[in-house]
């Protein structure tokens, strides 16, 4: 068991050690400073911008940035719909998979567009290789979209008063060329060296040692998986996602994928501190996020290692822990670690089946997505956290009787309204969606895989995962129905774009305000006290509003255990 705990600690420490230099590098990239890779990337980017007729140095205000962001996203959506509805005759379809139905294509296109990857299909039968490659393209560009939106917020907090926040296309393209693409190639090479398939051939026949005939799905897996994690997308190449032995071959690939998905969310926080020249603030944010992560993660590891008491009561040895839905090569501790890492961050890839976890482990995964800002997704994680900072600044301002200020900018009614709308949208979408689904058993009852409280948790999980743009699921849910495809589709759109528009708007408004130099009366935002304050706001706003729903699901299930 010791090598397993050691494995987890090494994963976490390695992620931190790699994210520090990466964060410094990212701050330089976004600040248009010189880096050692300029000779390679400068000509490449010049070519890309020239071909697309874009001037990357044209300053844009926050409204222009958002318009650019939304328009290019809309184009990707239409393209995605077209490809998914026509994949049967498009090239690269050796297994002759059929077209998706309109409601399924809508859900698939949206969920990849918003960096969620809910996947109401199975990779082996639901998409062609051509569609897989387009979805892979979306995994690159949607991650970069989130990062570019975060960079707009970075720009707003440079010292002084600014009307503009840099250029969307510049930050967007550089996120791909200088960060996502090179790291993906390195990860791809590691995966190939560890026997991950990279081929365009279709299913292969295999006669087993015992004499059964079976067909084995393979594909360009080693290209798909790196960006799936690095961009915190999480959409699996195969139905079983990273539990599949060709998608996640051994413990080394498991560590690689785990580190890849946490890397940019970590680095983004450090890049923020570096960019605005307040490194201590970066560390404070990271520490609060880490406390939140560990509070959810450690209990899951312990609960899963203890095993399912119902099964232990049958005389089964609990030494391996709760093994339903888990793979022997990962073991329970690193599976449980993954279950929280993938839910605090909006990856949503899985290396074990979340539905089969112990009830309170399932609750922790739900809480991780309900807070949605402990690290969080590529770029958007720090945006979500930023909203809570604004709220905490306001609350603490009221408590001590000072004008609320953050980094030299006064926070006033308009910004507060936007922050509150964004913060309350998340519980609204999750709770209203689940309530509707529970009130319409004609649409949903037959789709549940488990009876009782666990069935309720399946529905709650589906909407939470959609609203957090996470993409994991209690996968027993038969979610490829018009109800689930369309209702979660709309939750996905709202929960992606409003939490991007809100923080960027706040940042734009703050940026244009007069800069007030720090004085003795300024509320310090890089202290442990303020970190605690933000944490408290997150717990009160995010976690407590979900308590009644959690009581009906995992908590009731826990107390009902035999």
């Amino acid at each position: 068991m010791n090598t397993e705990i050691l494995g987890i600690i090494v994963m976490f420490v390695l992620t931190l050690l790699l994210s520090l230099p990466l964060g410094r590098y990212m701050a330089k990239v976004y600040g248009n400073e010189r880096t050692f890779l300029d000779p390679v990337f400068n000509p490449l980017e010049r070519l890309l911008f020239k071909c697309s007729g874009i001037n990357p140095y044209k300053e844009q205000n926050w409204k222009q940035q958002l318009v650019a962001l939304l328009i290019i996203n809309l184009i990707w959506f239409f393209l995605g719909m077209f490809i998914l509805l026509n994949q049967s005759w498009l090239p690269l379809n050796p297994d002759h998979n059929p077209n998706q139905t309109p409601d399924q294509a809508f859900n698939t296109a949206i969920s990849f567009l918003v960096n969620c990857n809910l996947q109401h299909y199975s990779g082996e039968t639901g998409v062609s290789y051509f569609s897989q490659l387009y979805l892979m393209f979306l995994q690159f560009v949607t991650a970069a979209t989130g990062m570019a939106a975060a960079v707009a917020v970075f720009y707003a907090f440079r010292k002084g008063t600014h009307q503009t926040l840099g250029n969307f296309y510049n930050a967007f393209v550089k996120s791909i060329t200088r960060i996502l693409l090179p790291i993906s190639i390195i990860i791809g090479v590691i995966l190939i060296l560890n026997h991950t398939p990279m081929t365009f051939e279709g299913k292969q026949q295999m006669i087993t040692l015992q004499g059964d005939t079976t067909y084995v799905s393979t594909g360009p897996v080693a290209a798909f998986v790196p960006i799936k994690h690095l961009g915190t997308n999480g959409g699996g190449f195969f139905g079983a996602n990273s539990a599949h032995p060709l998608e996640n071959v051994n413990y080394i690939t498991n560590m690689t994928q785990m580190i890849a998905q946490m890397l940019i969310p970590f680095a983004m926080v450090f890049a923020f501190g570096q960019f605005i020249n307040r490194r201590k603030l970066g560390w404070t944010i990271w520490c609060v996020m880490t406390v939140g992560f560990l509070i959810l993660c450690i209990p899951n590891i312990i609960m899963e290692m203890n095993g399912n008491p119902n099964i232990t009561a049958m005389g089964v040895s609990p030494a391996l822990g709760a093994m339903e839905g888990k793979e022997v090569r990962f073991g329970t501790p690193s599976s449980a670690y993954w279950s929280i890492a993938t839910t605090v961050i909006s990856t949503g890839s899985i290396n074990s089946m979340h539905s089969s976890y112990m009830p309170l482990s399932g609750m922790n995964m739900l809480l991780a997505m309900m807070t949605n800002c402990f690290y969080g997704g590529c770029g958007v994680g720090i945006l979500n956290y930023f909203v809570f900072i604004i709220l905490a600044v306001f609350v603490s301002g009221l408590m001590v009787g000072r004008t609320p200020e953050f980094l030299g900018k006064k926070i006033e009614a308009r910004e507060m309204k936007i922050a509150m709308i964004v913060a309350l949208l998340h519980p609204l979408l999750i709770l209203a969606g689940t309530a509707l689904a529970a009130a319409l058993p004609s649409q949903t009852a037959s789709t549940l895989a488990n009876p009782g409280f666990h069935g309720f948790s399946e529905m709650l999980y589906e909407y939470t995962s959609s609203a957090a743009n996470n993409g994991s699921g209690f996968e027993g849910l038969g979610d490829n129905t018009p109800w689930w495809n369309i209702s979660t589709g709309f939750v996905l759109i709202l929960s992606r774009y409003l939490p991007i528009i809100g923080p960027v708007a706040i940042a734009g408004i703050l940026s244009a305000k007069k800069y007030i130099p720090e004085s003795a009366g300024t509320l310090k935002t890089d202290t442990a006290t303020f970190g605690f304050m933000v944490f408290a706001v997150i717990v009160i706003v995010a976690a407590l509003s979900f308590f009644p729903a959690l009581t009906l699901g995992p908590i009731a299930e826990y107390f009902g255990m035999g």
Partner: protein, 182 residues
Amino acid sequence: MKQHILPAIRLTLVLMILCVGIYSLLLSGFARLTPEKGHGEKITDGNGRSYYANIGQRFDTAIYFNSRPSAVAYNAAGSGGSNKGPNNPEYLKEVQQRVEDFKQKNPGTLIPADMVTASGSGLDPDISVAAANAQVVRIAAARKLSQQAVQQLVNKSIDRPFFGPQKINVLKLNIGLDQLSH
């Protein structure tokens, strides 16, 4: 508004060339250089037939080390777990049945959790060391081999990675077992 549409379409096209075309070609090219040419690891048995080393196979006869229960019956053109909740009464009945079956086949041994629960992928290529040890007596009797010889094979097959759990690839173990019997 309008000045964004055309650049966005053009940027999408050039980025597709970069992120799909060049990126996939680079990795495909690298995969071609490896001994397995990007097809995944294969192993060959004594009769020269080759298998995917990492795709679990159904082994349920007495003469082979059995693999884990699978929610997709080891159909490698699909994948997935049972997704049953830990308190689902029907599921627990199923596990109880597996426990009885395992006890009947391997009387008097410890029952390891991996042998009565389905894996996440349904294609788990491995079993735990405890799961292999629990089947040694049965295998030795069914194959008319000494327990010691079978136990030695098990011990030899244990994969001890630097990080993570110890495990045994069932296919490799069973190929070794066939060779031992010859």
